[in-house]
Amino acid sequence: MNKEDNVKYSDKVMAEEKQALNGGEPNEKTQAGAEKSELDWLDEDIPVQEESAQEQENAQTSNAGTKKRKKRQNPNIRDGVRYNKKGEVAIFQPFTVKDIVFLAIIGAAALITSAVMPLVAQVPIFGLPQLVTGLQMSIFPTIGLMKVRKAGSVFIVAVLVSVLELFMAPAMGVTSLISALIIELLNIAIFKGYRKDIACFVSGMLINPMTLPFYYLYCLAFDTNSIFFKAAGDSPWVAVGISAAVLAVCALGAGLGILISREIRKAGLMKK
């Protein structure tokens, strides 16, 4: 006996029972299904009990919470992407935990590979620490930008790295922060974000060389006894040459960063 036969059989039995209760007369109303009889409660759904005062109150509170949440949610953000009033993708995108974690790891990698800097910290040549750390300080941030591609990424990396730098060399921490801020402003003005690879290349290339003029200005304002400041004053052409070399090394690093991230993307490891 299949399921359909089972249903038919039970309907038949129910109709017979109703007929017996009505004094042997077949209930036409029930059979026709036009009107309800006394026994039609069998066909009805179980009525829902009325909500208690406490339940109603709870429901109201949860509704209010949902409304508040809806109010708090930015209507311009859909699927994690922020849109402007015109409906275009906005320059400033919200950062997710994934982005912050990746940028922090990139910052840690840049920091750990720059550990050679103290070895040249006391050599009186202007820009030598930047030259030594140029490659790693451009490769890793460029990889970070190629993955995250959100305005403010360079500044986040700079904040995370400079917090550590402030403990060791406050001047470097301050100059890193200022230069990162300027790079972000330049990027927004020229490229409007990191959607293009060239934007990642330019920002990644400028992170280290940009600290040079700010470090000079910092020394001019606060630390005229600095050996680098004196070195720049004693042999300005050497300082210019080193600055050009820093720019070249950082351009190479940013290029390598782009190549590496393309390879990783091709391998399927780097997902947006």
Partner: protein
């Protein structure tokens, strides 16, 4: 890696941070004066007094080698004893400024900043930077070991450097970040304005105030002594 340098009871993290800036500034400003070295010695003793004995002892050989190298370079280039002493002072000042950071567990600094309502993105990122720097150092070592096993060749060869070191390292970074972000998200971390609790709040004590007062007084005194 730096766990063994952590002080048992470090000072209030933000005070340690200010102390590092003061020591660095005063040490560099007075590097040319011989009295500057006495100031640095006093700072070292002050750290020792406040329970930083482990990092204080660890820093001695490092500072000796570090300042010895630069003293040698400076003496070789200038041939002047005062310039050499100034180089030594600068190196020792940098080493002492590193002490509060070296002795501070990363989680304490993060808790302190969380208490001060610093954005979650910064505190979370900072904790990752502080705790992952040693781990990434180990990753580089592993990749170099793998290179040796495969007989990849010298790192001075740009092709080997790119193909056998940079690309695997970057791939490893992406993998670590994906796993870590998943782990962080499952633990309820988010970048939004969600309320959170600091389980072990860092409290300011009289000891911390005394520590910072001592460093500030010493730094101001040495600058006044040397320049006024």
């Amino acid at each position: 890696m730096t766990d063994r340098f952590h002080a048992k009871n470090p000072v209030y993290p933000l005070f340690g941070f200010f102390a590092a800036i003061l020591i660095f500034a005063a040490g560099l400003a007075t590097a040319k004066h011989t009295d500057g070295l006495w100031y640095l010695l006093a700072v070292w003793l002050w750290f020792l007094l406040f329970g930083y004995w482990r990092s204080c002892l660890v820093i001695i050989p490092f500072a000796a080698v570090f300042s010895g190298i630069f003293a040698g370079i400076t003496y070789a280039s200038s041939g002047e004893l005062p310039a050499t002493l100034a180089a030594v002072s600068r190196c020792v000042a940098v080493c002492l400024a590193v002490l509060p950071g070296l002795s501070l567990p990363a989680v304490k600094l993060t808790r302190n900043l969380s208490q001060l309502h610093v954005p979650r993105a910064v505190t979370l990122g900072m904790m990752i930077v502080l705790s992952f720097a040693p781990l990434l150092g180990r990753e580089i070592k592993r990749i170099r070991e793998a290179m040796r096993t495969r007989g990849a060749g010298s790192l001075l060869n740009p092709k080997v450097f790119y193909r056998a070191l940079l690309v695997p390292f970057a791939a490893r970074l992406v993998n670590i970040s994906d796993t870590l972000s998943l782990s962080v998200e499952t633990r309820g971390f988010c970048t939004g304005k969600a309320a959170y609790t600091v389980y072990h709040p860092v409290k300011l004590t009289v000891r911390d105030v005394l520590f910072l007062l001592g460093i500030t007084a010493g730094s101001v005194a040495i600058i006044v002594w040397c320049f006024i």
